[in-house]
Symmetry: C5
Subunit: 355 residues, 5 copies
């Protein structure tokens, strides 16, 4: 097992509450800003390095989606916070990449924290912290790094396909969460495949320390996945139940559907968790079975030959007077006796079903 | 254990919500439509390949049950959706065969998703995705493939026996769910028989890797059954509690009874789950007992004969001066000593209750 | 372990809901009817084979308790159902001996399903399905077979002792349930005695496959008891909480007391369940300890004598030139060396606390 | 383990509900009555054998605490019941020493059942059934035997210290429960000390069947403690929440504090329960470790000497023509080879970290 | 493992409720008092040994934070209680260092009990009991000993940075709790590092009794952490929900944020708990694997050489007539046969995948 680098990312200094500070891995040094502005007739897209380019869209009758990649540029986030009147605690939580999924309702916006999961190099599972501010005419999303799961969504907006262009910021919020949850499903399925591979490996007796390490790794991974995904269920539930002017009536059907999806995800997480735990038991059983088999081989060999060796030892003694040694057929008779004992032993083991 | 074919059926592309797409195994290429139209005096049955044949029944004062076998023919489902004004999300969920059981209430219909379980070739347990739309005058059911558990029900409708012909679409919905849950009971009982067979096998010492694989298979199966059946309990509970014009007052008694049945099913699932888990423990205990027995045989044989062999070895040494070797009865005395040690050892083991 | 006869008793055919059919073991072919009719001044008792004898009591100002033994005589039950206006689902559930405990409230009666537990031949625990219909002036009870736990109760009614003769059908219902729950307590205590016997057996090292089978049997038994008794708690709770004209205000105190009893029963069930589970662990520990002891004996003997035998083997070799063999006291010196090694080994094991 | 005497104390005869009968151990044949009568100015104490002495205090403006030691004297309890108008079920529950903790509210009094725990001879934990009736001007307590945990409380009343003399029967009830719960804390702490001693014993390798018996005993004890103490939490919670004229407003603060204490007790019970369970695991691990060590010693010795003994056996054969035997230095060369194999083996084991 | 000193700190004498008595470790003999008095314009700090110095701040329009270090000086606490009109039970709980976290609401103040966790000497985790009284214009905090986690907070107050100086006592309460919970996070992270180190140690086969002791120690520690931290979640939840004039509307956002943090802490506690438990399983598996390996080595060596030694024993016998001994090449043929058996055995083991 490779030595895990310990990543100490949570604040240890007790900063005044509401202080923005980036607590992630500092891998994305530059902040990219993608701005999409649309309504049923209009569509603008803008890539920029400054959030200020988005401010002129603010009071127009369009939906503005501002996506920030990289959280290390605190000034930009503060500008955004000022322009959209975000609460200091919201700004703090945007930068706190260890925050668990949650929903905060403020007077003029909703604030949602969640995790985006995807595989890097088909192997390592990456947990990216995301947060989203949803106002009546705008959606702000904050990501730790470039690369996300929203390409299909962006295409749908630009093509004007589906109903998204005709609907409000609440539907955009739903579409973003839906894309994230859809990707959870992919991740969980890939995880399930891994578990089944492990299962096959365990059954096919490729049992060694390596396998138990793999099982242990998957245990840890599923615990981590659970911690990052499961709280989103409660968030979406609250989102569906909440009474706010931001979410329109007809979006509730979609949120309810999204809730069904996240419940599906959570159930699969629990399923795989149980399967991994039970795999460990299985593994132990197979080890025990193997041990039993090993012991049986030893016992059969030792039980047969130790008494025979003893008999041979008897007649290997150098006493002057051992009458049997001088019989003409003593040797052959003894070989016969030994063969008889041998057969007797074999029958005993067969009756015990050891053979 | 046979290598499981990995079936990747959940969408990985983030389609716009509300898109219909069939995500099942694509085994049923043709879509069959069965239409039953009845009230207390009228009874029509129609087998067709197109749903349009059902549309002329729509505004008559009869109950129309349209059953679609095969979900791959998306156009037919869309036609149906248009005619009965189904929500896009309903259409999406009809095709999503991985969806967990749920109940959605819409303004003019109820939408219920559940699983139909039956055995194929007495061996393999098949999980068929079903969905049902219940309106005031119609019931639409969607199945993945031909073959279902509703033959008794169809006969009762055609015979006019029982109260079904005189009651509304809500009673038909109940009768369909009742048939499904009744079949769950049969499935669970068959599963219980398997568990008991395994138990007998474990007790009768037919313990080997094969058995532990069987136990593991049943563990997985019961987890899968649980995942597919248990959520229906909540669905039926909601159905009983819901206040909708579609379900009449007197049907509630029947739904309550149905709820009792599904609770019975769920309890049995939990029971068998506990029994399988405990069976694994039992199996481990029996292995340990066997190992103990094997070890005892080895220990008894080795403990008796190793010291005796040592003594024989002593008198097999070639020292010039070993006085005992030259005693007239040295050999016989030694044999006597050895027999004495042998008996002593046996007594020791008997006192330890190893014999 | 004796091969369990599989008893397939749940319907596999999807009958129309509300159909009466007896799904028990068909052991009681004849249906006995006991009718007790009483108020504070009147007392009649009647044994009959037909329920019709009870119908003339119906509109009198007395409490009528009709007890049906044997459920196979469907016509009698239907007559009763007609006379007392029972719902078809009630009639179905009376015959369904697999039904879990439940309470149904109908307009003019309460319907309670529960299990009566008693020992047959001091050994086998019998689960008898019972149901009870409680109206304002009558109580109907349905048992699978003759023999029950109500003899004390019947005596109290006939003697006119206690308050029962002066009270209504709700108090009779309470008294019946109280007798059943009292008998649960006896059963659970007997079960507890069995568990303690098993515990003693485990501690007294009478460990073998037989014991683990016994433990496993008790595990299964307690799971079965739990499944049959535990739901009654919820039934009695509902009974205490329900607002119906059938149950008078002052009976609620008694029902609350009954609830305390059933909670007591349930707690004991959980207690014994935990004890049995923990007994299995105990048993495994004792096996491990035994194995450890066996291994130690083997190791001590082998570790002492294998090296000594090797040394003896050295001087049993037939090399022409082994100088030690020709020393005058070579043999005795070697014996001394061997004794020294022997003592050394013993000291080593003593230091390791193996001796 | 000493054979437990089975004490069958729960009624097996179905007596009419409300019958008083003592179901305890019948150890206290005589009933003692302690009567304390007080208000802020008055203080009387009276030891008697009859409850009738207390009746003249009844209508005075003082608080009367009547404490009954010994429940076998049914007539006295019935007199008391008559005088204070107790419900028949209350009288029944006073005598039922198996009753779990509970709170019953009646029109003019509260009835509380709980357990008093204390150590007998520093070793055996005794569970004494207690019940308490709290009216507006009186408190009745019923104990199984002499000796209780209320001496400090009695002293406070007689001294007039603290606020108790100026307050009502509800405060006296609180003070009694507080004394009981305080004693729980002492008991739990003593239990915790035992668990820690066991832990030390396990760590210090004093592992044998005895220890596992001790662990098992403590498991059983903590289950019993839990069953007797835990329900009191709910009782005190209900007491705090209940709206009755008997409990004055300002006493609620004290009850809330008492609730905190009982929650503290329950948490410690759960903590020790988890610790004992985990101790068993620990014990199993240590056994496994020991076994591993034993096996290693055996394996090292056997693996080294068995091949060497084989070699010695080769040259102990009596073939006419074994050239090596006649080499001048054959014996010494062979000894060298054996030493070399010996060293090689040691190195192998060292590399495997077995040495 | 070092012998734990048993610290008996909970009262065993049943004192009158409301009695103040210090039940801690009596390590801090002197009581220090820190008084900070501030509003947006004023800032005073005072270190004293008497609480009376704080009383002149009482009615001024400033926030007064009085921090008491050391609880053994009961008179000072009583003076404080008198001056701020604290309930006797509050005073009792301030001194009871075993009290679990809780929130009590009184008419004119809130009383919060919690634990401050920090590491002493980077090794030992110290649990310090703290309580806090929050009134409209004052905050009183009580600590067991000097040294706390509030230095950053004090600095912020003295610098006038952040919003704290402009806000009320409720915000100060929030800031104190925030500092405590922030420190929990540090503690939990350090604990997590320990768990990961243990995990590495287990995987790197440094398995011995020592490691299992370490795992056991961490088990105990996490149970203790959980007991001390987890109840604070409920406290903060109640604090957020409570309707009191002391907590202003805008502070609720901060409390909600704090609640998220404590939930985060609790989730991590559960995570590490599961990881430690699963580590024990892992450890057992590795031991089993090792044992298996040991057994295999023994079995291979014994199974190969015991039969060979037997054969050598045969030809070491001294029968007069053993024809093979006199063959010219008998010895060499036998060596060949032995080599053949040896190779055969090796192939058998290779096929069994033991080599």
């Amino acid at each position: 097992m490779k030595k895990k680098k310990k990543q100490k990312s949570y604040k240890t200094k007790n900063l005044p509450p509401g202080t923005i500070s980036y607590r992630g891995k500092k891998t994305s040094t530059v902040t990219h800003v993608d701005i999409i502005n649309y309504n049923s007739t209009v569509y603008n897209i803008l890539e920029s390095q400054s959030v200020e380019d988005a401010f002129n869209f603010k009071d127009k009758d369009t939906i503005t989606w501002i996506n920030i990649n990289g959280l290390s540029n605190i000034e930009e986030i503060e500008k955004l916070g000022k322009n959209y009147q975000l609460h200091p605690l919201t700004l703090e939580d945007i930068g706190n990449t260890n925050h668990r999924p949650k929903l905060d309702e403020f007077e003029n916006y909703l604030f949602i924290v969640f995790k985006m999961l995807h595989f890097k190099n088909e192997e390592e599972l990456v947990y990216e912290h995301m947060s989203m501010v949803v106002g009546e005419e705008f959606v702000l999303t904050f990501q730790e790094a470039d690369g996300d799961v929203f390409n299909d969504l962006r295409e749908r907006i630009s093509n004007g396909k589906g109903r998204i262009r005709g609907l409000g910021s609440d539907y955009l919020m739903y579409a973003i969460l839906d894309a994230v949850v859809d990707h959870y499903i992919t991740v969980i399925e890939a995880f399930g495949d891994r578990v089944e591979e492990l299962e096959d490996a365990v059954f096919n007796a490729q049992y060694n320390n390596n396998i138990s390490n793999h099982i242990q790794d998957q245990k840890r991974e599923i615990l981590k996945i659970r911690r990052n995904i499961v709280p989103l269920r409660e968030v979406i539930n609250k989102l569906e139940k909440t009474e706010t002017k931001i979410i329109e009536e007809k979006t509730h059907d979609f949120l309810r559907d999204l809730y069904d999806h996240i419940v599906h995800v959570n159930e699969n997480i629990e399923l795989y968790r149980e399967m991994i735990w039970s795999l460990m038991d299985m593994y132990m059983t197979i080890i025990s079975n193997k041990m039993n088999e090993v012991m049986k081989v030893l016992t059969i060999i030792a039980t047969i030959f130790i008494p025979l060796t003893f008999i041979a030892g008897i007649y290997g003694m150098n006493f002057d007077n051992i009458p049997e040694l001088h019989y003409q057929n003593g040797y052959f008779v003894l070989l016969g006796v030994m063969a008889f004992i041998f057969v007797l032993m074999l029958m005993y083991f067969r009756r015990k079903k050891w053979l």
